[in-house]
Subunit: 335 residues, 4 copies
């Protein structure tokens, strides 16, 4: 029998991307769990039905025999739904920030809200497969990483671990994201006329996602400066990361550190020194592309990393995690 997967929040951009990526799979049966019927549906052609819809309730989830549920919902909704979904026997992959920060103190500091499920926070596995595939496989609850930290950690952690960065001199991560990262809910900040032909910085030195980079790449706030920017485009994140190297004699050595770190990771792609990815290279794919420029005379390095915020930064990575849970190839449905 096919695995049965449910999606909560299927009208949002990440949820919609989950539907798009999961629908063609023949090993799965997809259900849309109707949580807020008041959100606006898209117009659909006659005779072109999407996946089945069922209520987002314990009864309906049990009756449908759902095996895995994706939560493409705000953190507070994820905290409310996860306990009973787990009790129904479903495994949960949460795309919100609810279960990413390990401790209630850390959550409260960065999200400025109480955490209502401390035990689940402790249990949750941080689903960045490139670093912790083995912990993901048996998990009941996977916390899917944030979009900015996915790109930053894949670029930084191997170099930090290899001791190749002069950490005390500080790392600057200048991050730029398309507008879909802000979600589908209408707001002035994401209105067309406010965004088009405009470019702006936000959450300077205080973005919530910083916490995930500090945890995963073992950095302190003083060592890691991060600013987010809004690009007038739909999807994609590009981060330009500046630091000084330690003990590096050639740009190829940096590439080599990455190659070792990602030898078994099919979704990280590397470029020859001096070449860097643009957003086009990764849009609508689950790849994280990494390229760099290194200045021999001063030891300054600039790493550029790019992902699609809705794929490797959300729905695609969630499916990568689901594949690990189900024991199917990590790339299934993603290449």
């Amino acid at each position: 029998m096919n695995t049965r997967v449910g999606i909560v929040g299927f009208r949002g951009y990440s949820g919609d991307e989950l539907v798009r990526l999961l629908s063609p799979r023949k090993d799965l049966e997809v259900f849309l769990l109707e949580h807020r019927a008041d959100s606006q549906d898209r117009t659909r052609p006659l005779n072109h039905q999407g996946p089945k819809r069922i209520p987002c309730s314990p009864e309906a989830v049990k009756e449908a025999g759902i095996d895995v549920v994706f939560l493409a919902t705000p953190a507070e909704v994820s905290m409310a739904l996860t306990p009973w979904l787990l009790e129904c026997g479903a495994r949960v992959i949460d795309l919100s920030g609810a279960f990413r920060l390990r401790t209630v103190e850390n959550y409260q500091r960065w999200y400025k809200e109480q955490h209502t499920e401390p035990a689940l926070l402790e249990e949750a596995v941080y689903g960045l497969p490139e670093f912790n595939r083995d912990q993901v496989k048996p998990a009941r609850l996977v916390s899917n990483p944030g979009c900015y930290p996915t790109a930053a950690n894949l670029a930084l952690r191997p170099l930090v671990e290899a001791g190749a960065i002069d950490i005390e001199a500080g790392i600057v991560c200048d991050a730029k994201s398309g507008v879909s990262g802000a979600g589908r809910k209408p707001s002035l900040k994401t209105s067309y006329c406010e965004v088009t032909e405009n470019f702006s910085a936000y959450s300077i030195l205080e973005h919530r996602h910083v916490a995930e980079v500090l945890l995963t790449s073992s950095l302190s706030e003083r060592q890691f400066s991060f600013t987010a920017h809004l690009i007038p485009l739909d999807r994609g994140i590009l981060e330009t990361i500046y630091f000084r190297t330690k003990g590096i004699q050639a740009a190829a050595e940096i590439v080599s550190i990455y190659q070792k770190a990602y030898a078994s990771s099919p979704f990280v792609r590397l470029y020859s020194p001096g070449h860097v990815p643009d957003l086009r290279a990764v849009q609508r794919t689950n790849f994280c592309d990494i390229g760099l420029k290194w200045d021999e005379s001063t030891g300054r390095a600039v790493v550029v990393t790019a992902i699609d915020n809705l794929v490797k930064g959300a729905a695609g990575q969630a499916i990568q995690n689901m594949n690990l849970l189900l024991g199917v190839p990590e790339t299934e449905g993603l290449l």
Copy 2:
């Protein structure tokens, strides 16, 4: 003493454009009339104050000695404010649809709402200066035309009057507008990710603005088919108008009809036959550009007309009307 002008709805796109166009004028003093303090202001540099703000109340308007008020507000707000503004001695230029359709029956048919000020509806002068400058000059209440009808009527009325169109064969007006035409209030339809890289038709055969074209160019609904479209850009309207000519022997004759009609109208620009304007030609100007292609063998004509929906389609035309009210040159502050 300088003329004192007030703007209600100064945070919306038309209101903002009024502020931008009126602020440099040395013959005017501009006041922002604060009607809804809950709307979101833009961040401003230190020491860069915009115009003075006063409450939108009879007392404040009288005290400030406001001579002319621009209403860049929804129709129902315009109907509520206009009576007491006129009583305060201010002349009113209304940018909404409240006073455009002459009769309450016509208003109710197209706006699906009751009209609460029938006497003012009758008094209001339709402010399309190219056709009725003389009526505008002495008016107390000017109804500023809609954006789509401005472009359509300037293209059609001279030809209809000259008998150059085979009206019974029907006129098609395929209209395209930038997103600012929908106003600054956030909505899913004008959210960045819904609009960018997208294009859509709306209000097919039933747009409210059709009524203004029928009235001004003396057409019946059966003779005039109109569809609006949303272009993924900020500002500008381009209309492609199709019809068969009557009694025309050369494209130059059509240009000639326009040249006669607009000999004293500085904001209508014409192109040689076979050349048509694009939006770039008119953005951030008060011009309405008109070009055309005529097919000799079949008598089919295509007229392309372009305006900036926030200037000639709203704020600029409103100022053109104000110039007429004040007896200063029609082009003052607009070239």
Copy 3:
């Protein structure tokens, strides 16, 4: 053994789309036929090789045992390559206009150039599968339709055949296309700063693609007015088509004519009366979506039809044709 397919012009936008759509197929082996080595390649990640490249020569094509060749090339290149490719035993699917217009006279009239392969022009099958699947299946040379005519003919031909249009009153087709339709060769007209925030009409009443609509939907030039426009976006065509109906009593009757015509055509999708597609509905798919609005009191109809110009308007339709040539399901690799 797998079918071997070759692509000439793989660096252009249609060619690139062919590579993207064909690469995942397990029943095919893809070869890039290098015809102009001077065009600019994209930067690629290390260890991420695209398909094999071979010269575009009779020797190489024979040695590789190519079964089907896609020509994503200008008309004059297609005319030069097709004869020897056919001699090598390959079947050819040409995406240019070289073989679409049936007679040398018609070609010369609309393309203003001599046709150098009259015999092949006569042999070529016009590959619009919804109307002539059976002729495509055994063809040696398939002429893939133009993007605009694909959308227009799918909307018009069933209604013309059913006698539902008052043809003498004239049909207006107002067509809008994204910029990728103009190809990848740099030009001022497709430069970013000329296109963004701009909108323009071109080829008014004289676009080459008109000829394909006249041929396929049996119309005369006098009856069919067509203007093309450039939308500031990458991909997609939307056409707004105006006409008066004949013998129609309800909008549902028009939908019903389409439903009968496309009962066996998986790539045409229909909407309930009053609903129309936007570009988002079809981008990156091989669907042609058709919706309409009908005005009962006057018999005026507006049909809106949308395709992705690079998929159903080029590469996707070419693959649909290839599937017919190979006898595999028409939808293979396209859903």
Copy 4:
């Protein structure tokens, strides 16, 4: 008699902006100096003549009595034209990089080309009025600054001079520009379909403009890391600048340093701490807006600065310089 100003390169984006800004001025007479007649003109309405055109020759320049010439041309053209223009008695404001870098060695290092006019290179005054108004006033040859360095130097130099930056820890300037900065000449990199929905880094650590920042703000290459990025929009530059402060106790102290430095500079606008400009704030204006965020606990600062690359980054600043040459108010025609 009016001052007579000439523009070479009037079809490019900076040249076009010069025409737009200079045309309304009543104290000037504008001439277009026709240097390359093969470039593509825009379509113009009938009876809407632009400024007079004369050949770009010594005879024509003398006959017209041109007082000031703007060169909106590539560096090599500027080097060729400047000597004879000066001999004709015209004063020259050059918008290219030809005369910015003070010494032939420095020019050759960054531009990888020989400098053919060393004496003029020495004579030229670097026209960043906020720092050297007095040198500009009497100059024969003004070298108008690059767009990126204008924004960077206005943000950095006052802080460097005040000793407020820990320079040895390094300064990172992550710069983003709209596409018009690349000029009007068609190229694949600035083609619409390559740029829209894309974002990319270029000239990492080796952009020519770095040299101007090092010279003006007294920094060494090791201390200043700069990466340029292309934003999918027409105009505007935003730079996000990271450093650690020295001796600063409060964000307001940094604002205060700027306030002192720019007390007499009408085109620099400042924001309260924690607020930063977006591109919208400065587009189509000659303002340079500066805002910042400072982290008390770690002394990290992020300064965000924004200009319009075609105005304060090119044509507007050139006119600001012309105003200084002519002894009229610095803001004339620019507010």
